[in-house]
Amino acid sequence: MRSVTINPAKMCQPIGAMYALFGVHAAVPLVHGSQGCTAYPMRMFNRHFGELVQVAVSSLGEDASVFGGKKNLVVSIENIIARRHPELIGVITTCLSETIGDDIDGIIREGNFEESKVVPIHTPSYVGSHVTGYDNALKALVTTLSVDSEPENARLNILPGMVNPGDVIEIKQMLDSMNIAYTILSDISETLNAPLILPKPPFPRGGSSVAELEDCAKARGVIALCEHAGGSAAVYLKGKYGMAADTICPIGVANTDRFLDAVCDMTGVEIPYSLEQGRGRLIDAMVDVHMKTCGKRAAISADPDIALALAEFVTELGMEPVVVSSSTASRKFLQKAKSVTDGEILNGRDLYELQRAVKDNETDILFGNTKCTPIAKDEDIAFVRCGFPVYDRVGYHRYGIMGYHGGIYLTDMITNAILEWGER
């Protein structure tokens, strides 16, 4: 295996932690590192979501790198509280602060900050990827904030992972149609798809509240949609509070069925007529286009859980997932990938390798984010944009690919990509 990475499929942990914090109402991500660690990821969010994001940085300089960043961190937290009065500050570490060895947990404890909750989040950039960072952030939020108390509130915790606002909306609509009480942790459906109404609020409306994070201990169950981005928090909630837990990424027919079954099991609710109709509409859409989709050879590049679920969905469409590639190396991904494809599995490899695999496997259609666009062009194959970041086309954050309704949108996107390509 090469030492050099050419065209990475992954980003580093801090951006994943920021992603998770954007879904908490009135929360400020504070990156404990150098200024590039915020300036650059902020632009990635700007490009994908077309939204304002505000991230603070402790601006570690040469002095702090030698003598430690405690002073910068404390001053940062004080300044943020004084100027913005957030409900929560998430302190996100970096390769710099982790290598310096700053004890952010101790610094935060000693600081005894009262006005805002301050949550330490360890996201060393030299471990894992953006997905790991999201997972670590969500686990830190849940472990730091959740408070055990009676009685059980009969809610469900849904941990969506690094998905789009549109996906969260799809999930919410399904649960709403079942009349279920639920809490989304963390909920970017409004914060990263905010309306333009003046005056601009100090923080975007929506997001999970700190109170919801505190109360998540009382829920009767938890479902993580992405095991690699939220799964650790689900495992924690199950272990600590004994609630039912499951992991299902509801992309495609069977995965959405399983998701709803799990919801029914945990809540005792039955699947309503409207969702049966929704399922039927997805099947109808798939039947309509099966002569276009069947037999196509697909390559999928995404974060691990999304990649696996997409592979299962394209199989339902009669395609063959000949390449399944995860941005993030993971043993769990590798195991599961073997059960969803007989094709080539890339476990945390770069996009240069993906392009080689796309070529070798005579692929017809590629699924991936904007960084995959040149591969589709070079290889002259159909291309479906998905994941993060997508910035060479607009609006992808608005529309979900999860659930039955999201499945219809995805089916149409796939077919239109094939039609545009012209089945060469």
Binding site: R2, V4, L52, E62, C95, L198, Y352
Partner: protein, 458 residues
């Protein structure tokens, strides 16, 4: 009270020294080029960004290998959001190279992985004319011998391997990264190749990054005068162009924040004089052409070109001016464009009411203050909350800034132009000025601004 404290800064009074309202007959400048107030929501980037992101990234035929964990490489891939175009798109900006340092590399050192990475990258892309290696934060801390590894690799592969010690935590902004890139390129590249032939009209354009093709508009103007552009630093540049830059008769410096260092060194070592220019707007572009013509003795030719170009754009600019007259702009740029554009806007009938830079030094603020009227707010390294206050309370009709500030402006209902990577450029010289004016018109008069509702209006 020329220095002022904005309302959003009550808790961080040190920001007063950076915030100046221009008053008559004063020689005060806002404090600049110092460490950012921690946690103030700065828009600044890091030293690595200044080195690779700005200065080195546009060099089109070398492997830019980032030594560190993966993020830093990912962000600068394809120029990041920067549109520094080249004529080598099948390689330049298409590939991203990183050593992707893992935890055990951080603990035990990353020298072996770096060495292997250089060799492998060269093997995959043997046509690349060099390997530039950039150190990121963690590398500076663990003490990898970058220089030694690069030397060893260079001996092995036989092409130039150049280390840049541009760790993000050095310096207080992107600015030190510009300096490190200048010094390293001067020491390692400039003067290592002789041009095939020389003319009496050889000139370098220093400090233009060919954003959306600016250079492709700039160069023909000089070439029509009879000047040969020997080298561009660094827009659309080959490493070989930079290697032969020492034989030019004149350095024309455009970005005067990111490249004065190499200009000074070339003047000192090779005796190349430096001419500073603004290549935005009609007046400044014409002045630059005249200054260069005077140096080379090509005045007549320059006047011909100026007349031809000005006659093409003047009527259109006059029409835009009628539409824009009385509009007020807030300019926030990296540094020099904050003063380059004051006069350009004035030609369009738009007055600057506030000007700011991310990483400007004293000389940038002096130039801003020379150009703007009394009462104008001049602010150094403005943070997100200050920007919001200025956009809300100072009520500019237009904000010109970068991507990070774009959606703040939009969410406040303020028309916006991306001055860093442009909307639809190029924006330089006469032809680009028309693109610029067209984009200003689009955003100022977009119907959507009139559809925004205020809460409780409905």
């Amino acid at each position: 009270m020329p220095l002022t404290l904005l309302n959003s800064d009550k808790a961080i009074p040190e920001r007063e020294k950076h915030t100046y309202i221009k008053a008559p007959s004063e020689s005060i400048l806002p404090l600049s080029n110092v460490q950012t107030t921690p946690g103030d929501f700065t828009e600044r980037g890091c030293t690595y960004a200044g080195c690779l992101g700005v200065v080195c990234g546009p060099i089109k035929d070398v492997i830019h290998l980032v030594h560190g964990p993966i993020g830093c490489a990912y962000w600068t891939w394809g120029g990041g959001t920067r549109q520094n175009l080249s004529d080598n798109p099948s390689f330049h900006r298409k590939y991203c190279f990183s050593t992707d340092m893992q935890e055990d590399n951080i603990i035990f050192g990353g020298e072996d992985k770096l060495y292997e990475s250089i060799l492998e990258a060269h093997e995959e892309f043997p046509e690349a004319k060099g390997v530039f290696v950039y150190a990121t934060c963690a590398i500076g801390l663990i003490g990898d011998d970058l220089k030694g590894v690069c030397k060893r690799a260079e001996d092995e592969i036989g092409i130039r391997v150049v280390p840049f010690n541009c760790e993000g935590f050095r310096g207080c902004s992107q600015s030190l990264g510009h300096h490190i890139a200048n010094d390293t390129l001067f020491e390692r590249v400039v003067g290592t190749k002789e041009p095939e032939y020389l003319t009496d009209y050889d000139m370098n354009i220093i400090g233009d990054y060919n954003i959306q093709g600016d250079l492709w508009e700039i160069m023909p103007l000089f070439e029509r005068m009879g000047i040969r552009i020997l080298s561009t630093f660094t827009g659309n540049a080959s490493i070989d162009d930079i290697a032969q830059a020492h034989r030019a008769k004149l350095n024309l410096m455009h970005c005067q924040r990111s490249t004065p260092y190499i200009c000074e060194k070339m003047e000192e070592k090779y005796g190349i004089p430096v001419l500073k220019a603004s290549l935005f707007g009609v007046e400044q572009t014409s002045k630059a052409l005249r200054d260069v013509a005077a140096f080379f003795g090509l005045e007549d030719k320059a006047e011909e070109i100026i007349e031809e170009e000005v006659s093409k754009v003047s009527p259109k600019i006059a029409a835009y001016r009628t539409k824009f007259e009385g509009k007020r702009v807030f300019i926030y740029q990296g540094a020099p464009r904050a003063w380059h554009w004051v006069n350009m806007f004035r030609e369009l009938g738009v007055e600057t009411i506030a000007a700011a830079t991310t990483f400007g030094h004293e000389d940038d603020y002096a130039k801003i203050c020379e150009r703007v009227n009394d009462g104008v707010l001049v602010i150094d390294n403005p943070n997100s909350l200050e920007l919001e206050e200025i956009l809300t309370d100072w009520k500019p009709d237009l904000f010109i800034s970068g991507l990070k500030e774009k959606y703040l402006s939009y969410k406040l209902g303020v028309p916006f132009i991306n001055g860093h990577s442009y909307e639809k450029g190029p924006y330089a010289v006469y032809s680009g000025f028309l693109n610029f004016a067209r984009d200003v018109e689009k955003t100022l008069f977009a119907p959507v601004w009139g559809l925004i509702r205020r809460e409780n209006d409905a």
